[in-house]
Chain length 355, copies 4
């Protein structure tokens, strides 16, 4: 039985970790870390866990915790983990970090977009970017996994096949993303009040959202060249779900018959099948069916689909995902499974809930 | 492995049956009955089941189906099952009926409230009312289970202990209930359009809702006398969830010290503990914590609590439940488990999803 | 032109006052009081007022303000107005208080339910309870109007005719109310976050909500005897709207033909017509049509209806209203119109917005 | 007093026309046309109009109606008006068509995208595209105004200044739009049920939505060259509102100092000010403030803003609008005001409702 500690167990991502790990056959939570609710029963904070979780919340103490558990999930604000991580911790336990601290390889880029100094740059090189479908083998060997951001998970999954196969002009890439409100976290802010979000939609972080460099870095690896793109997130009046609509111009390629030309729908579709036909958690939808966030709610799926527009010679890439599952806690558990040699889908065999 | 047939698999309750049975270790669905979607892939109707369910929808044929499966769930309009049920079917298979056809023992009462003739009154006597916490032993022996209505499940569960213990005046009982919109079903009606329900709340079926006699009958058994009550349902802008707020005057009783008087909070609470302390799916919340539908969403729990008002000498009984789970498909699976001698909670170990 | 000052202009009720007064032909706002946003442009707090309101928010200073304006609206926390009011202020200006400070005639009752000491009990006697349809003449003469609470406005309006006509047993009165979330105000609390309220319904303040004594007092006047009742509010996932569902047993009365008996539907309806047929803002709906909050959204209407249940000998009284308009800012403007001798509906000729 | 007839008065756009015209000082509705509700009281279909509108719904009869009223609004399905319009009608009355029949100048384009034959192509040349801010003078002279589509109104308004000033490369234009559900109309379809839309977001009509050629045509006029673009609408769980997020690459231009280069933020902003500083209904928001649909709800405003991204050399154009007001009924009334020589904002002085 894997012993698990969670730092930040009372945020929405932390709460989702608790929900998912309850159904996990090989793991049990030993530590519910929460600065805000120390010594309170966890189930008094998340009443859904009443009579399911009996533990109380405890202060975070990563050093001590590392000696007691096999893996620590940090669902904490940016900078927290980088501020306390050391070799001793990593020699005692594995760490899956749901914050952004170790997602970006270039320290300067991290510091510019996040506006804070990185306190543990020495661990960046060994940190593995935990997008399971991409880095499966490296994750299995990792001590420190940087669990991807919610927007990046959905964006990269939706775009990767065409980037990797060279079918789109990466200079034309635009990502328009929409997220439910749980992505904004559980802290009390006027902007996140019910009456402010309900019956409303807006863009935010336009041309400045922190997930931009993370997406760019990963797609650069896919495309084999630097990628600079537009990423615009929007806040949608719903609890869960991220929808990505991405646009790019098709690139002239050598077609199967040897001629040069724009890839057709079949080639585009083949690219998605190539990367995802054996992936349990990425579902390439039937032609003409657009991803909807409701169809994946509560599950670890990313639903993707693609549409070629011959009028504009562009392709529209779409992806839908539950931001708290595949976009946070679910992928974190998937990473844990890989790191401990378990069945990758253990605890994640979740059927989306509808309606 | 129990072979299962579902008639009405593409309604919301049918869809929830499919979701729950997918996670059930001892049952598998052999028949997805749906008149509206015959020969279409089930996953094209409920896209959440894409790559999970590969079957197509089939026309309903209860007689044939009864020979092929061990149990049939009928999630069908009122009158359907009563119109086709016969001894041959019941000798071939077990039937769990999610409609109201066999919930009410008095045929005249059924016909008055539902406005249709009952075509199979001969099976009413043997039908067992499938409120598992109340009729567990009878359900185990049943061929035909009448799965309770959503409002009745939540209402009866919330009120039963005080009715059974004689602590409230049954003539004063008022039930004010609130339901999410999935209870209205998946048929296309203007009144159920998004824009009509959203940002809106209303009462409906005032003093005339069909679940009234069902609640009255069951509470009559509990109280040992006829019960006539007010039941007012309301439509709430949310997908899932039923909240019951019930009111009754306290009845003078002999107190533990022998004196006559109104029951105090401790006696009231003791009544709930007596009936529910060993029940997995009924959670008596800590004092002062009001049930909320969100805390049980997606699960088979009913959360209940109670508050004594010394000013008015009344007690307020509250219950929250997911109408599609404990109020429909979950309880149906719980009934199946009982009928087949399985662990009662098999397939129902569902953690509520929050947020 | 009436000069208006608002203290608490950046809460939701304050914001609604600004919206309504913009459309008022005889009033103009001179002072946007807001402690939280001093010196910020009002339209930067409420972006809907961009290019409509150019003023900045100012600190509250009731004494100074009283000299500059003809009327002050205080949309402030409980205790604020009572803490600063004095004779000088009231001799300089009229005050319409949207808080509870002067709604309850009995100081002890106020202090018990609100848990604070009343600092200006000397002004309670002269304060007029501003339920316009009830106290029209007194309001016209008032210097100080206590604008009713949102729940009380809807509850009293729905119940008054039967209480005043002696058609119901006041000892049996139960009020089950449901409110949108704007009633909880604009302060940043976890409980009011989008993800906590959305897809959720709960009761709160059970047997202890502060609006209870206010309703009881007003209905006591109507019935001519002390009234003790149950009032249970619920939080509904919508921005605006209050729905009241109230229950009471019918009282035996002398019928038109001289016999004794329970009032029938016609007598009940006649009571509503008697009090409301000339009231512009109270709409008695056609028989069988239940009030819905969406049908009054944005308007000053209260829609009411009533249903007699011969089975239980009870009557169900229903009312729907926009909590920010008739439940707060709209009624406050209606009071202002009365106090200044204007057309009562000036600025309030608002058509409900649907959908 | 202008006599008004509405064909299609019981759809959502028709209902909004009724709401707005009630507040119009110079117009009164004489005819509430509705095939579905003939002879029923209008207020029984839209209960918000109870005691406000006393008329009944009448069958549509354009020929007869044209003789009785000064202007007809047709809020009807595509093809209806083109199927019945003739010279006699237009000689008797003015027509403001809220359908797409006369929006597109090229018949073949209309027939291809809408999939129906155009029955009155002879009236297309004289029809004026009723985007008031663009075609004010022509509208004043028109007998037949094609009221713009909701998406086109918001898209064109957001993009026009940069297209007209030649500051963006029109070949790179991508419009990602999000709409509330009232845009889908009031017909009973499963896809528009509350439970299907709530907690969900999806794209639809990808690379095939009918508003595409309308946007392209109007922006072609602005840019002075043919425009082919991507337009992707999304369905958002809210009643009202459209948000447009549009992307284009900046075009090298001669700068104020004579040099060649990309336009900077000041030049971009100046373009918006040039076209909108005197427009009452288009609000260019302060720098850094993103448009939100809630801030314009119920009003005739379009809020726009723009952000230059120096990293990608693109500009992000944003617009928010109420789809039923400026996107349908509000603009239709604005057109009527222009056609009859009234104050352009008569009846449209609507303050957005928040929350």
């Amino acid at each position: 039985m894997i012993q698990v500690g969670i730092i930040g167990a009372t945020g929405y991502a932390g709460g989702e970790l608790v929900r998912l790990l309850y159904g996990h056959k090989e793991a049990e939570i030993k530590w519910y870390g929460s600065r805000s609710y120390v010594d309170q029963k966890y189930a008094s904070v998340y009443q859904n866990m009443f009579q399911i979780v009996e533990d109380v919340c405890r202060d975070d103490n990563l050093k001590q915790l590392a000696k007691e558990v096999d893996v620590i999930f940090t669902a904490t604000p940016q900078g927290f983990l980088a501020g306390v991580l050391d070799e001793e911790i990593l020699s005692n336990t594995k760490v899956i970090d749901l914050s952004a601290d170790f997602r970006i390889k270039d320290v300067a880029t991290y510091e510019k977009w996040y506006g804070i100094e990185h306190k543990s740059p020495q661990f960046i090189p060994e940190a593995v970017y935990g997008l399971c479908e991409r880095n499966r083998e490296a994750i299995k060997q990792a001590r420190l996994v940087a669990n991807p951001g919610c927007y990046p998970t959905c964006s990269i999954t939706s775009i990767f096949p065409l980037a990797a196969e060279g079918l789109i002009d990466m200079n034309t890439l635009i990502i328009d993303a929409k997220s439910g409100t749980s992505g904004a976290g559980r802290s009390a802010k006027v902007a996140n009040l019910y009456c402010e979000v309900n019956e409303n939609i807006k863009a935010y972080g336009v041309a400045s959202h922190r997930h931009t460099p993370e997406i760019e870095e990963q797609l650069s690896y896919a495309a084999g060249c630097p990628v600079v793109l537009n990423f615009t997130p929007h806040l949608v009046p719903m609890n869960r779900g991220i929808l990505v609509t991405a646009y790019a111009s098709l690139k002239e390629v050598k077609k199967p018959d040897g001629s040069l030309g724009l890839p057709d729908a079949a080639m585009i579709r083949a690219a998605y099948d190539k990367y995802y036909q054996d992936e349990k958690f990425v579902r390439v939808l039937p032609e003409g069916v657009c991803p909807e966030t409701k169809w994946v709610e509560g599950s670890n799926f990313v639903d993707v689909n693609v549409k070629v527009d011959p009028r504009t010679k562009r392709v529209i890439m779409m992806g839908a995902m539950d931001n708290l599952v595949k976009g946070a806690a679910g992928q974190a558990v998937q990473n844990m499974n890989l790191m401990f040699g378990l069945e990758e889908s253990e605890g994640l065999d979740l059927v989306p809930m509808f309606p």
